[in-house]
């Protein structure tokens, strides 16, 4: 039964990525290479972030919320954005339309994030006899993360790849990108500073991811109209 539970949580965590790839036109245009490259870029940025965190951060004994440390972590989180920029602009992709490029990059990014952060705890924990709700919540968190990554990639492509944007929308784009980029800090503040429990935090993440996705979709389609 325990392997069964592991299997359930695994398809909850990694299933949506596969479904997204096969359902959207990404599979028709064979953008797997792009996703793989984006995943590798994520790996690189994770390593850089790790080194920076180890050098600059001091680990506190209690689990409270230290504003200075969190600020530092948020700054280091912007390395993520830099990595995404690199993946979107610098890598040579085959001739894919911009529409699909950001989706492929976002997908690869989210998949790498899920594997690195969630596979190991799942493997070690979900196979035991003891039952907890943690791994199901972790899977839901992975889903929210997928939506957030794709919306961040969309906003990123809007910022860096699209040359003519309506002037009024530019600050909104940057603001949304900023919010999505700092999501990790916001969730850790909720968990430690306000003391929210895990289910509540996951609910919040799902909600904001849907909201952000909707907003970025609107922005994208709004920017698309003039160039189309």
């Amino acid at each position: 039964m325990t392997v069964f539970h592991f299997f359930n949580c695994a398809i909850l965590t990694f299933g949506p990525h596969a479904v997204y790839y096969s359902a959207t036109p990404l599979s028709e245009y064979d953008t797997l290479g792009t996703s793989v490259k984006a995943a590798l870029v994520y790996l690189g940025t994770a390593l850089v972030k790790l080194v920076c965190l180890a050098t600059f951060l001091n680990v506190s004994e209690n689990d409270g919320f230290d504003p200075y440390q969190e600020l530092l972590k948020a700054l280091i989180g912007f390395i993520d954005v830099a990595g995404l920029y690199f993946a979107l602009t610098q890598l040579t992709h085959r001739n894919i339309s911009q529409n699909h490029k950001f989706q492929a990059v976002g997908l690869g990014w989210a998949f790498a994030d899920s594997v690195l952060h969630r596979l190991a705890p799942l493997w070690v924990g979900a196979r035991g006899l003891e039952f907890t709700w943690d791994y199901i919540l972790q899977g839901l968190e992975a889903n929210a993360n997928l939506v957030l990554s794709i919306s961040l990639a969309a906003l990123g492509s809007l910022m860096w790849l699209r040359k003519n944007k309506p002037k009024t929308l530019i600050p909104i784009i940057y603001a949304c990108a900023g919010i999505v980029a700092t999501m990790p800090s916001i969730t850790s503040y909720l968990r430690r500073g306000l003391g929210w429990h895990f289910p509540k935090v996951v609910g919040f993440e799902l909600f904001t991811s849907l909201v952000m996705a909707f907003i970025s979709w609107q922005l994208f389609s709004a920017c698309q109209r003039p160039s189309a």
Binding site: M1, H5, P16, A23, T24, L129, E130, F131, I136
Partner: protein, 504 residues
């Protein structure tokens, strides 16, 4: 051409990845991880054969669901473990179960914390007395029965209490419904219990020679002081405590210490040789003492004038009982009794005389025991006073050490400690190792760790799979509709027939 080759290579890569994942899953099935809700120390009921007939709990490994006493009547318990706290024990219920040989997965008795050896103190003595009687009755029932499932004892603590209250709640409702209030599984992964090969009993004796004077040393009469140091109980790992016969041991060691002080100076040396014996095998019909006596030289045996066997001193309040084998009218007995009474009067103790007929042909004929409180023969506040801290520290040690003979090896640290202690106080110490023969065979695996897991039922897993499957299907259709349009979704299901039409 190049594109085909590339796609072929791609496909091979994917296939090798799939095979690796499959291999990984096979490996997964072999590994079992422990992440229990609670892990508790448990002690197994003794398992022994007496003349070939099996007694006690015959199994050690456990892997069943837990239930409390409030289980729905008529439920099948052959794959459940009943958790019974001692406070709620209904002895007739247990007796009925055992005598009628009803099928059961296992029994777990929870002993209150007051019985725990780490927890000293005399709080709630009345409750303790009542529980002690219940426990004694339970012990007698379990020792003499042949139980074909594991029986364990554990001490109550917070974790087990919460688990038990949860189980009771579930049992009151009926069958557990959801995953979080689902069942608890008790797992003890030990191998089958094996026989203890050649259990040894170790007798330690110490000898203090008396004043030789004008008489040859070998012709001095001897006084023997004997006590047995091992115990027996329903759960061998819990058979500790100062009675039967820790108090006797402590008294013997204290007497040895005092007499060694006296005998070290020739002026205060008495005209008796003193022989101190620490024997094992007490509960098994004094097997060890018997062997020890048999090993004596004939002359030594003849020279023993008096033999004092100290047994369970300190169990009664202020009474001292002397069991004698010869009738009380015997002059020697009268003399001893008078001596004891005089001393006892000064100390507010009562001394009684009990005549117990003992089989003369048995070499035990010289042994009579007396039970009573700590007798302070020597004056207080002198260097020969009984040392209370010495007595206390040895009593503490004995209260904390389980001393069932078959499970104590020859070189057990406790035995070594006794030997060293006796060597400090006597001239000469000899150790005799014998095999506990006879009609008993014991089995090991007395102390192990129980893991309590909170498990979800199978239906929960299947339900979750169903929910996830439908979620993924909905997600898939949603994405296809939004990105490719509804026609594409419908065409996904209609493709095979249209292909047939095309080829035809």
């Amino acid at each position: 051409m190049a594109a085909l080759k590339k796609s072929g290579a791609y496909r091979q890569l994917l296939e090798s990845m799939y095979s690796m994942i499959a291999l990984l899953f096979i490996l997964v099935a072999c590994i079992e991880l422990c992440n229990a809700a609670a892990a508790v120390d448990v002690y197994r009921l003794i398992q022994y054969d007496m003349s070939g007939s099996p007694f006690g709990s015959r199994f050690a490994a456990l892997n069943h669901h837990a239930a409390s006493l409030h289980f729905p009547p008529g439920a099948d318990l052959s794959r459940t473990v009943l958790i019974i706290p001692l406070r709620e024990l209904n002895i007739t219920f247990v007796r009925e179960y055992i005598n009628q040989k009803k099928p059961l997965g296992g029994l777990l008795f929870l002993l209150p914390q007051v019985f725990s050896f780490e927890n000293g103190g005399n709080k709630q003595i009345h409750e303790k007395e009542k529980l002690k009687n219940v426990l004694a009755e339970l012990e007698q029932l379990l020792i003499h029965a042949n139980i074909p499932y594991p029986v364990y004892f554990a001490f109550e603590n917070d974790e087990i209490d919460t688990v038990l209250s949860d189980i009771k709640k579930n049992d009151a409702i009926g069958q557990p419904a959801t995953a979080t209030t689902g069942g608890y599984k008790l797992v003890i992964p030990t191998p089958e219990p094996k026989k203890v090969a050649s259990p040894t009993i170790t007798n330690i004796q110490g000898w203090l020679s008396g004043l030789k004077g004008d008489v040859d040393a070998n012709q001095l009469p001897t006084i023997a002081v004997v006590a047995s140091y091992d115990t027996f109980g329903a759960a061998p790992a819990l058979s500790l405590g100062s009675d039967s016969n820790g108090s006797g041991i402590v008294a013997l060691l204290e007497v040895a210490r005092l007499f060694s002080l006296l005998y070290s100076n020739p002026r205060t040396r008495g005209r008796y040789n003193l022989l101190f014996g620490l024997t094992s095998g007490g509960p098994y019909n004094y097997n060890g003492t018997q062997k020890w006596l048999r090993s004596f030289d004939q002359r030594l045996r003849e020279s023993i004038d008096y033999a004092i066997c100290l047994n369970s001193i300190g169990s009664w309040d202020n009474e001292l009982w002397i069991h004698v084998s010869k009738p009380p009218e015997n002059a020697y007995i009268k003399q001893i009794f008078e001596g004891f009474s005089n001393v006892a009067e000064e100390l507010d103790l009562k001394v009684g005389l009990k005549h117990k007929k003992i089989n003369i042909s048995n070499p035990r004929r010289h042994i009579y025991g007396h039970q009573g409180k700590n007798v302070q023969i020597f004056a207080d506040d002198s260097s020969l006073a009984v040392n209370p801290s010495y007595v206390q520290s040895w009593l503490d040690l004995l209260s904390r050490t389980p001393r069932v003979a078959p499970f104590i090896s020859k070189n057990d640290p406790f035995v070594m400690a006794l030997k060293k202690e006796l060597a400090d106080h006597t001239d000469e110490v000899t150790v005799q190792n014998e095999i506990l023969e006879g009609i008993f065979t014991f089995y090991d695996s007395t102390h192990t760790r129980l893991n309590i897991y909170q498990v979800a039922s199978v239906t929960f897993d299947l339900l979750l799979l169903l929910v996830l499957g439908s979620y993924l299907i909905v997600l898939f259709s949603f994405l296809v509709i939004t990105t490719r349009g509804l026609d594409d979704l419908i065409s996904l299901f209609r493709r095979p027939p249209s292909r047939k039409v095309k080829t035809a």
